[in-house]
Symmetry: D2
């Protein structure tokens, strides 16, 4: 990730602010406010604003006149209770805003989370940066044979080289032709004074989906956790998981008590179906239970056994 001198200076200017406020603040999050945290080869996330902290959740749950907190242990107990019982509205009382730079094909996954506010850099209005995502070789994986939407073995040798060459060559060529159609380089210089360039809103269609875009993305704490639960999951595509993992760090700095509860009840937890509960019960009682008699499909059976790390029971 490279920032221009001007961009770095703008970020420094923001970080040098020292404003007074009566609002709740999150000191650990303040420390990294505005920082551009690198993700993938050219991407980043920056926390650019936030509202509320752990005590705001307690305050709202109690509809309190004051801070809503008695002592930290009581607050933690209440937050855990709310998380466990899906009392979700108090978590909506905190808000966070990120500035994110990310490849377009990842932006398309991300935007499916609708309960968020977004302002994206406009390629109708401006020319996009010449930056595109090329996977690190250790993330260049073959199609999975067992999971139609997953990855298998890492590609190696000639095939890996071929893929990277194709991705790089095509991205560069289509970007150069984008400039050619615009009749304008990224730096604003005109290519041929005698002809008109194609409208930006049309020229952009020539870019490949690994081109980077950027946006401001704002959501509340509940919907941030919904996002992270799905996108920091091992079934999520690696490239969006890279963003989600970094955002988990910012969650921890922002609302540490909520973070603990989230990791325990959501990220580290599991769901068990009605049929699955009967299987677990029998296993605890030491009774014999076969997949065939459980009502579970083979796939469900294995998901259940894996959830409880019962490797010897996998079929």
């Amino acid at each position: 990730m490279k920032l221009t001198n001007e961009q770095s200076q703008e970020i420094k200017d923001q970080q040098s602010q020292e404003n007074k406020t009566k609002r709740a603040t999150a000191p650990e999050l303040e420390k990294i406010l505005y920082n551009a945290i690198p993700i993938l080869d050219h991407g980043f996330i920056r926390v650019v604003d936030y509202m509320g902290d752990d005590t705001s959740i307690v305050q709202a749950a109690r509809v309190s006149y004051g801070k809503g907190t008695k002592k930290v242990s009581t607050d933690a107990g209440l937050i855990k209770y709310l998380m466990r019982h899906w009392h979700s509205t108090p978590f909506e009382m905190c808000e966070i805003k990120y500035h994110v730079k990310l490849p377009i094909f990842i932006a398309r996954q991300w935007i499916r989370h609708r309960t968020a506010n977004v302002n994206e850099y406009s390629a109708r209005y401006s020319i996009l940066d010449k930056e595109f995502y090329l996977p690190d070789p250790k993330h260049l994986a073959a199609q999975s044979q067992s999971n139609r939407q997953g990855r298998g073995e890492i590609l190696e040798g000639e095939k890996a080289k071929q893929v990277l060459d194709l991705l790089k060559g095509d991205a560069e060529q289509t970007y150069n032709n984008y400039e050619m159609m615009l009749n304008e380089r990224y730096d604003g210089s005109v290519i041929n004074e005698n002809v008109a360039g194609l409208a930006r809103e049309l020229a952009r269609m020539n870019l490949t989906l690994n081109t980077y875009t950027q946006w401001y993305w704002k959501t509340d704490l509940l919907n941030l956790m919904n996002f992270l639960r799905l996108r920091a999951d091992q079934h999520a595509q690696y490239e969006i998981r890279a963003y989600a993992d970094s955002m988990l760090d910012t969650l921890k700095k922002w609302v540490p008590i909520t973070y603990e509860a989230f990791m325990d009840y959501r990220v580290g937890g599991t769901e068990v179906s009605a049929k699955g509960k009967l299987v677990i019960q029998k296993l605890i009682k030491g009774e014999k239970i076969l997949m065939e008699d459980s009502g579970l499909s083979k796939r469900e059976w294995n998901e259940l056994m894996e959830a409880f790390s019962l490797k010897d029971k996998l079929i």
Copy 2:
């Protein structure tokens, strides 16, 4: 509006905070942060948190690395442009949170604005305050004869007295019986040690709709303006307009540039239909145009003439 000593102290404690932050602040709004601003006879609004200011809108519209502002005049021009052309997403980048005390029948209108976060005081869990709304005599109006959902003349004399007596008497009686069913007074004292009280979630059904409730209500700037546009309007019920009017003041303190644009383009503006445009055009050209030939209903014609203060053209 009366606050207990404990509540007043909690508010003072919040106001005495002096935290440091790198975030954008709104100095005029900070001055009234946490203040309970009285509305109606027992209600209030308090701004308890906020995120962003006018520059945050500009910053998001530009997807900026820095503050997103060049100079105030440029910012104002951009904000006006965004407002005029319904480029609404940058206004979603600011957020505000209120603590509101309000009668239940008004809460039922308010909650219809769905794009907001709410935590209400729970009458399943706690006993509600003994406070109910009684209109000031100057707001005690007869049913409008022309508008089925509006008010007409102010009631006077015996009828006014009768209404206030009935409202007061019924609210007090149903509240006393609420305590009786609960077998518990608001202050927590038990009425009869020998019997069990009715469950709170049931007893509350005996209360009248003018009983006060309270909630934390959080929304973004765009949806706040949507709320205010409808609820600060002269067609809104007076009781919710009283809240909206106070909230307009907080809007002005928070985002003064946006406030100006909102008053000009939304609150003070009007909409003209395709047919209405033809009428206006003819009027400007000095051509004769009759309601009968305009394609407008009498009601539409009058709404159009009133919008442009053409009183002599009312029918």
Copy 3:
């Protein structure tokens, strides 16, 4: 629940329709379309429209040109898979609309589900029916001693009688005074020709929260299931559960395959936290594990044991 002759006739007229359509239909749901199914003492639900069926979910998940179905067993497998892995968007492709009559205090719980469309009968515009909810004696419960938002023992004898008398007396009195203030009876007859009545939007504030209101409520299948999961749960207040239970029946008639998956994975299932998983693992392996060493609170421990019907392990 009583309907006027006119209302019954209107419902019959709707039921006698026999329109032709190329759309997917749900034959079992068609059979009860428009029926007013009684709930509580004066309430009802009526399914008044719907869109899609089980095959619509499959069709959307496959982004199909045709019906999206191969054979029923394949469809069922896909629907179960989607439900298990929280692939929620295909379930949003079906829509249902209810006409509901319900007490206001229940309407206030219900409306908290924001992802739905609502049109409520307007008491600003019209006079409400003289109908209010009085609990059946078997649902007249004392406040729970262990759960601040729950019910305990059924009230009996004198206390039960007192409660019912108070509820009935207050509802009748406040309704009579509502008419008095309006200067108009429910049937439209004027009480005193010589005085003006209070505006409807004000008079309504005198009614108690057990007064019945009604609305059209429309939502998609995903959000219907979110509603039912919370409101058909044993922790929900009985009065809203009565509605949710009836709606579960309509769900079964509408999308029987989805209903099965919903009952297995959501309603009958359970969640286990990261710490809870370790406890279950040890129990299966026959290792000793005490609550004190588990990291679970007593409450969490008991919730876990109850979820798996391990009554001997309750503490």
Copy 4:
């Protein structure tokens, strides 16, 4: 737009359905149900389901037991009233579902309308069709000089040819390399039996933004009109306007009364600011008013004069 034989057959099968229903039907919309209406060079829209008609709006506004209609003229009056006064909730009571094939860069604009349900064809799971958008020469426009997000003159001659050659060449090359990386052709044939192909979720990033994707898109009538108001507007990008214009036709077939009101009050109407109202008033009174004294910027002044077709007053 080409459909495979199998796709055409699936569509015919759907169209040959003749189901009976008690629900409201929209006969004109039924006639085109499932039809693939061509848009751009390879795109289409198909209405695949709907719920409700004009009478459903009236029914919900009245919270009716029956059809909610008295006679057509009364219904039309009510619908116009609702539209004019932004009583928006009754319009949410109708729902429509489209199957859309569209270029990815247009899908990215479209998805910004968040109050809709979407299932998109997954390029993580499947291989995308070899179809990409190439503008018709009459839509190949130069960048506008006056509007940074608009189009100017049509490109001609050599420049037009160059652009089309580049777009076509790059799209074909990147698609071919997409197959190469996948080691699989669109028809499923393997290219080289001895090597593994790149994961689909990665290979897709090599495609250009004019590649076609497809989705099921469902929304309610209110949000459909919000979409059409912005996207059938002359300021919208031509390519999305092409879709919106076709959808306006389906709106007319579905809810003809609402369509008339929508065209009059929204599409054909205009908004006038508080300052603009004063200008119009003076013009009607024949008073002199200069832009400089109006408080309007030059741009606002011209927008106002254009709204009322006062071409002689443009500056």
